[in-house]
């Protein structure tokens, strides 16, 4: 078996009185796209910046591509492609000037034209960075990682703040990197991003990994396969909860913003039973929706909180 592309053992990092990373273990195989999924403040960025050699951990071992930051920093930087959260490049330089600068730092940079074509900025190559849209700037950030022709990519929230179309464009780019056989470690708080891109994900909360596996495995680990959401017009209080819990197939109940969320193993039996219950008590049904369980539901199930806290 090939050695791991990234191995973290007992990683720990504290800022003043905040524990950002609290004993984190992780292993990423070569060629894998691995997602760190968690809400803001879960410790994803601190973890990835430790992997990038930008932050020193208080404790723990970090092995990147078989090398360590303490001994091989110089060689290691040649082998990594990095996209940080919220980097703003110089507005006064053009796309190709910016890439030219980053290319000059690497022994064997990829040809400029290849990189520009890969991120589809051909028409913008002589445009100033300040005139690019948010999506184009993020593609430029990814291009600055691509110039190194790296073996391992660290992408910290590469699509945060982008519109859906720009996000899909970026996903296609990252899929291209995966196809080329490169290893990708990505952080995100968008579950659909993790589900689409990642071979495996780790759910991070309070600086530690609380679950990991393929997206499918994690969803399957939930007893529930579906989530039924409904809203009754009337104020419904605690007296409804035991009745709902007794419905066929229900294995979990939550309330969010006045709506009830039922986790169900057997939606086809739960829904009719629910409708009968509400009709029997004379409660109006104002909204009813159902979706297959997602990573978001896994997160809520594990922590009782929403993944996206905005």
């Amino acid at each position: 078996m090939l050695p791991a592309a990234l191995r973290l053992r007992g990683l720990r990092k504290t800022y003043k009185d905040v524990v950002a990373v609290n004993g984190l273990d992780l292993e990423v195989a070569p060629g894998e796209c691995f997602g760190l999924l968690g809400p803001n403040g879960a410790g994803k960025t601190t973890t990835i910046e430790i992997c990038e050699g930008l932050t020193l951990p208080d404790a723990g071992d970090v092995t990147v591509l078989g090398q360590s930051w303490a001994r091989d920093a110089r060689a290691l930087r040649q082998r990594l492609g990095i996209s940080l959260q919220e980097t703003r490049f110089s507005e006064k330089l053009t796309v190709e000037e910016t890439l030219g600068l980053f290319r000059s730092f690497y022994h064997r940079p990829r040809p400029l034209d290849d990189v520009i074509a890969a991120v589809q900025l051909g028409e913008k190559r002589r445009a100033r960075v300040g005139q690019l849209s948010g999506g184009q700037q993020q593609r430029l950030a990814l291009a600055c990682a691509l110039v190194a022709d790296p073996e391992l990519f660290f992408l910290d929230e590469p699509t945060t703040g982008l519109d859906p179309q720009s996000r899909r464009q970026l996903w296609e780019l990252i899929e291209g990197v995966k196809r080329a056989g490169r290893t990708v470690v990505i952080t995100t708080h968008y579950m659909e991003e993790a589900e689409r891109l990642c071979d495996r994900v780790a759910i991070v909360d309070h600086g530690r990994i609380i679950a990991q596996g393929t997206p499918r495995e994690l969803v399957r680990s939930l007893a529930a396969q579906h989530v039924i959401a409904f809203h009754t017009g009337a104020a419904t209080g605690a007296e409804l909860e035991p009745l709902l819990a007794g419905l066929e197939g229900v294995c979990g109940i939550r309330q969010r913003e006045g709506s009830w969320l039922l986790e169900s193993r057997q939606a086809h039996r739960t829904v009719p039973a629910l409708l009968a219950l509400l009709a029997g008590r004379g409660l109006p049904l104002e909204e009813l929706s159902m979706h297959s369980a997602t990573l978001d539901d896994v997160f809520v199930h594990l922590t009782g909180r929403q993944l996206r806290d905005e």
Partner: protein, 352 residues
Amino acid sequence: MSNPRRLRERALAQLTLVRAREFLREPEAVFWTFLFPILMAAGLGLAFRSRPAELTRVAVLQGAPGADSLRAGLERTPGIEAALLDDSAATRAMRTGRIALVVLPSRDGRVTYRYDETRPEGLLARRVIDDALQRAAGRRDPVGVEEDRVREAGSRYIDFVVPGLLGMSLLGSGVWGTGFPIVDARRKRLLKRLTATPMPRSAFLISFLFSRLGVLVLEVGALLLFARLVFGVPMRGSLIGLVLICVLGALAFGAMGLLVAARPRTIEGASGLMNLAMVPIWVLSGIFFSASRFPAAVQPVIQALPLTAVNDALRANMIEGASLAALAPELAIVAAWLVVSFAIALKIFRWQ
């Protein structure tokens, strides 16, 4: 695989090129760097241009005994303008600088001069008026005097101030031109992104010094050309010497900019530090007047300042035509500032 040295040179060349582009694409920065010193030189050159001695303006106290004839006598002397003013008008005129002295004649034929002895024009008026009065009263000077008037380029105020402005401009653009872009890059997290690459960190800092040299050619060239063509400011020393002083000065001031920008996270924080560093240097280093006017006790400090050394060296080169060897002490001070500032900046620099 290219060797590390080649990589370093390539990165340094790219970083320097990027700095130069960023600077030239900032129209305001270009204006302040090139035009501001020229405007200053033009303004000062006009205000302090050489011209025949001004009229000595005085007042004679109205209503005093013999005031009218005394005034008439003074008015007949070339270069003197005398007015009859009452006491309060005379005080007001003196306070606002319209007259330099008041003559108060008394009944016994004596006169009293009222003037401010701390002001040069007061002292001058005292001598001119006294001379005129004594001669009118019949004084004969025992020594015969002839006058031979010359005008020496180099002794004018503009000749003194142009090297000072050059030094001031080098300091300002050196500190601002390196300080602001660095703090801006830190604020935008671009600095952090760059440190995540294999970029040699010292190459990043050195690129700021190198790009200063490119700007320098234009900055110094524009001011000197202007001073030479418009005011005929002399440049008696060797051109190589002049270039060397400017290059060394620009590098030292750039290194000071790196040092000032080594820690702050915000533009506001950096501005405060820059002013803290530059204002005392500007005041003390003899830009508009000679630094020798400050008390002897602070002279060791003043002489150790980089701008004092640069200004002294520039003046010695341009006005006196001093050789490079003669300027070795000044150049050594500037070089020391360069090396020490750069070393400390590299050590304490905040990359993230």
